[in-house]
Symmetry: C2
Subunit: 656 residues, 2 copies
């Protein structure tokens, strides 16, 4: 079992060369079919900005729709949509203006900017690739392990120590200094209202908390969600769409009574098994995740509470449904130093890609931090009333000045005395009560700043009373699952990419790329072909295509004159799961061939059944095997079969 | 017929007070149920920025999904999604850096900024409201009519002439000067790369034209579309969500051979009838739109071509499907001065609201302007090869230097001579041919800058030849339907709002607000209630609700203890079209009551039929009348009927 895992995560056999070749092949396919392209490429492109072309857009849209259904609809969340342009005070309160920074160094020669930690990392990794004595190696490994803990000063010292120079130019570099990653702008025509593009969608939810709570009938817990663009002015964006300057984020804020983090639906996910990489395992010698049930993770205390574990379960099912390989996905707990000071627990859903393990979703227990920050900044209530299951009875000391007696005794000073009595600390009130009981009177100035007044026993009642308390006012805790849609998308592309092996006699270039998208996320559900380029076939194709489109199924038609095998290959590269072919028999008996992409198996199906069948296949209500069981299978001709090269092949790492 | 129209558009009876009361009532309902709220309200709010709360978000999402289906899927468009952050050169080429401005004046006292034309408009309109002599009135009406044609200088002169002061302060104002409406920012850490937030989504499509053309198999026509956020730093945003600083835009760019603007699917819309407000009618004395078929509009030349008319038809069906009242929607042609200099024709889909006629969609023939601008800025090909239906045969003058003879005669100068001969103008070549035929020789320098060489008859062949030309390279024309999603949404809210009349004995405050959203756009399709607060009812309610949610229907459950009438009213205010009630009979026979929002009529339906029935009702495949015909109607009890107050009422203007 362990062996298998090694193979899967590429720790063992897959070399970095292999990974890079694989990454390039996937990248080529994505660009060739316009899934993703560099933005503004006719202007030379802008680093960190990407466009989704038609199939990329469709895949992204399908994933987002499913996200909304899986989380917002099925978990009954409150969705909001706010602007990206955000006035500065909001992001001051959230801490972004002060702390949303990366450490940067400047090339002393040409002024080029670099991320300080990346420069150090590159140099140290190169050193490790060469022979080194054991002590040195250990030292460097230590620095690398602590890289993201280093502050400006310590990082500067390390850059000096290892004599790091600017890449490309080999110039001297400046000391590291913090660079704020927010895009700044100005709101309104006067130019005096500072604004930023939001660096996350979360704050737009927090600032709406009072209204959302009201919308929810003033009841906790509830979750709100926002899906939209976030902006981070990365110092030097790399790794394709994994680190970009504008990206789609989906964030959920689950507001909960911090003392009740159990979850009513937890039992539904308790038996889900997944790779769990706890803090403890990360600092142990083994450093390996463990397959574990969520129920056990909570029971053993590895996961802090049912709510965070429930969301981990929902994230797991989401990721698997859209095509992430569960054996290449793990939930890694943050180490202490990784977490913000206010965070109580934090887990990343990491997916293995050719770039290594990529954080795709973060699931953090942020405590009441954000709400408290905004409450302090605005002086607004950001809390909720919690009604106890049963009323509680609490003892309380009540100080009741007897106004009538005090008024008679002190006249115009009575008011001062009453106020002083009422504001005494509990401790002083108890002391005065003792004094009054002992000697019948007490001087006020001995117990508070009330002045020189002698208080008699009949002037004040000081008693312990039992009060019924039905609830309390709290600032809710927040559990936040935060999704990077682009990262999830890219990892899914890598996990679904494979290449059919070339048939004998074919050239290497004829390798056929396939994306085995799940029908749920496939950009196009079905392609319709005429077997031959004949107008009587084309007419039927158009009818079939129109009827599928009318029922909401994304369908394309390909009536070009190339061979059927080549046309199949073209749609495979777009990840189209199903293809319909209209042939001579269609004109006789109104049946067509329906082909499934990955098995290349075909059935013969009446046109009248096509729409319903494809809808059920696309929404994953029906499996292909069930369709195969229902309709006669159709063997392609020998030549067609050859042309399609049914044998699948692993391209480099471990696909499919 | 004309009378009815007057009533509909509010030209006659509806006073402005009435309109304002209506607008306030709609606004209150939208805010109370958190359809739309001011952004960052706990921080005092930011003008021109709004949040969509849960039901607003759902309605918007439904409209956007339908937009994608109606246009992208059904018209087979290429969707793209690009970033909002845009480098300056792109927006320089498009003209936005120089010309995307509004004229602004500053309050000389406090520096407050105002839109110059709005100030003048307000003052002039106030003058018109008072008695004026006929000449003066005419003069002012003239200025108002030409308001958006005025440049900075003329506008400044008018502001002086009418002694316009700053509002509120009555201070002097500055001369008008242009203010660029783009939000500026800086890309990357160096601070030297100027960027803007895109002011429209269109440019993101244009810069991808070469790749999109390739994606489409290098064939014209095709359309590309982008739906996303655009940003305009309005000087003083007003009118709620009609004029905002960040908004969702859906833009379609239909690229077409400018000489072939017919449309293959035009016949499908040719018989659609709608209110058409041509340029001619606007400048005539009547100034009134005319109900017209699209086919006739094209035939009579009112609309320039089939493609622009086809899109007008598709916009019409889109707007009606989402709940816009077709009698309060018109297509208005731009006057000459309204159009950009490059535009060939332009129509606005305007919808009548309490703010007047609002431009919700613009449909413009932008010619090849944008592509040519980007081609010039980048020196990249932004054209397409058009294959003629039949090859054309064109006469061409061919100059063929006879290298062998020239080489012998001129040796090292031969190259210069060949080049000179080849680059002669057609006119000069013909003159030389005449000279050669007349005298047998000609001096090159007489015909071009080729130097002093005597050319003999056998040294060059100059002949007219007929060439077969199969196509040509063109820069496509662009027809652009551009949608403001927020504006459409707001107008739809106004068109679907109404109030049920209070029953006898009820207070005025008990007026029941209803949004009669079409099932397509309704934020929630169904609410499930127990008739009474009993656990055995609640269990069934939860089961029903879960099964509806599982099948993708947005459903909420309301088990609070308030009366059924009050619970119905709550869902009416959210525009939920259908409600299911579980009662005693349900426990006996597994049937429930299904109620339709606007008629308040009810049927008795088996739980097992509920899911399919509601899916068909929600996707508008089935009409309520059909459901009524299929299932026994269920009269509410007399008291329930009374509590619901079946009688509908027009609130102020003309709703429903």
């Amino acid at each position: 079992k362990r062996k298998r895992f090694d193979e899967l995560v590429g720790g063992g056999s897959a070399s970095s060369v292999n990974k890079e070749a694989f990454r390039r092949a996937v990248g080529n396919a994505l660009e060739r079919r316009m899934f993703i392209t560099q933005s503004f490429s006719i202007y030379g492109g802008t680093a960190g900005l990407f466009d989704y072309g038609p199939p990329g857009c469709a895949v992204k849209s399908n994933i987002q729709d499913f996200w909304k259904r899986h989380f917002i609809l099925e978990e009954n969340m409150l969705e909001i949509e706010g602007p990206a342009v955000t006035p500065a005070p909001v992001l001051k309160a959230s801490g972004h203006v002060e702390r949303f920074t990366d450490l940067m160094v400047k090339d002393a020669g040409n002024g080029e900017c670099h991320r300080a930690d990346h420069l150090l990392e590159d140099v140290l990794k190169k050193m490790l690739a060469n022979p080194l004595d054991g002590g040195k190696r250990k030292e460097i490994e230590n620095v690398l392990a602590r890289l993201d803990e280093l502050g400006a000063q310590e990082l500067g010292a390390q850059l000096k120590k290892y004599e790091v120079k600017a890449p490309d130019t080999n110039n001297e570099i400046s000391d590291p200094f913090p660079f704020n990653l927010m895009f700044a702008t100005s709101i309104g025509p006067r130019g005096d209202v500072q604004g930023y593009l939001r660096p996350e969608t979360a704050q737009g939810i927090f600032v709406n908390f009072p209204q959302l709570l009201y919308y929810n009938g003033n009841k906790l817990p509830f979750a709100a969600a926002q899906l939209g663009q976030s902006f981070r002015n990365e110092i030097s964006p790399q790794q394709g769409i994994l680190r970009v300057r504008e990206f789609t984020q989906g964030e959920i804020e689950h507001f909960v009574d911090p003392e009740h983090k159990d979850h009513p639906k937890f039992s539904r996910v308790a038996d889900l098994e997944m790779l769990v990489f706890s803090r403890e395992k990360q600092v142990s010698d083994v450093k390996r995740p463990v397959t574990m049930k969520l129920g056990d993770a909570v029971k053993s205390g590895i996961m802090d509470n049912e709510t965070i574990a429930y969301f981990i379960g929902r994230v797991y099912t989401f990721m698997v449904a859209i095509g992430i390989n569960p054996e290449r996905m793990r939930f890694r707990q943050h180490l202490e130093h990784e977490m913000a000071h206010y965070a109580e627990d934090c887990w990343d859903c990491e997916v293995e890609s050719s770039y290594g393990w990529i954080e795709c979703v973060g699931i953090a227990d942020r405590s009441a931090y954000d709400l408290k920050q905004h409450a302090a900044a605005t002086n607004k209530e950001m809390g909720a009333w919690i009604t106890f299951d049963k009323p509680k009875f609490v003892e309380e000391l009540v100080v009741e000045p007897i106004s009538k007696v005090l008024g008679k005794a002190f006249r115009k000073d009575a008011k001062t005395v009453v106020s002083a009595l009422k504001t005494m600390t509990e401790e002083n009130a108890l002391k005065m009560k003792a004094e009054l009981e002992k000697s019948g009177e007490a001087n006020l100035k001995a117990f508070c700043d009330g002045g020189d007044f002698v208080i008699k026993k009949d002037m004040v009642k000081i008693e312990r009373e039992t009060k019924k308390v039905s609830g309390k006012f709290i600032t809710p805790g927040v559990i936040e699952p935060s999704f990077g849609i682009g990262r999830i998308l890219y990892c899914m592309f890598e996990h679904t990419y494979y290449v059919r092996e070339s048939a004998e006699g074919e050239k290497e270039d004829d390798k056929k790329v396939v994306f085995k998208f799940t029908p749920l996320v496939a950009p196009t559900k079905c392609t319709v072909f005429p077997l031959l380029q004949k107008e009587e076939f084309n007419v039927v194709c158009r009818d079939v295509c129109n009827s599928l489109v009318d029922s909401g199924l994304s369908t394309i038609i390909d009536v070009t004159g190339t061979s059927i095998g080549r046309r199949y290959a073209r749609t495979d590269e777009l990840g189209v799961p199903f293809a319909v072919t209209v042939d001579h028999d269609t004109l006789e008996d109104n049946t067509v061939t329906l082909r499934e992409r990955d098995t290349c198996s075909q059935v013969r199906i009446p046109i009248s059944d096509l729409c319903a069948t494809l809808k059920n296949l696309s929404s994953m209500k029906t499996k292909w095997e069930e369709v195969q069981a229902q309709y006669p299978s159709q063997g392609g001709s020998a030549s067609a079969a050859k042309e399609e090269n049914r044998t699948e092949a692993t391209y480099s790492l471990r696909c499919p």
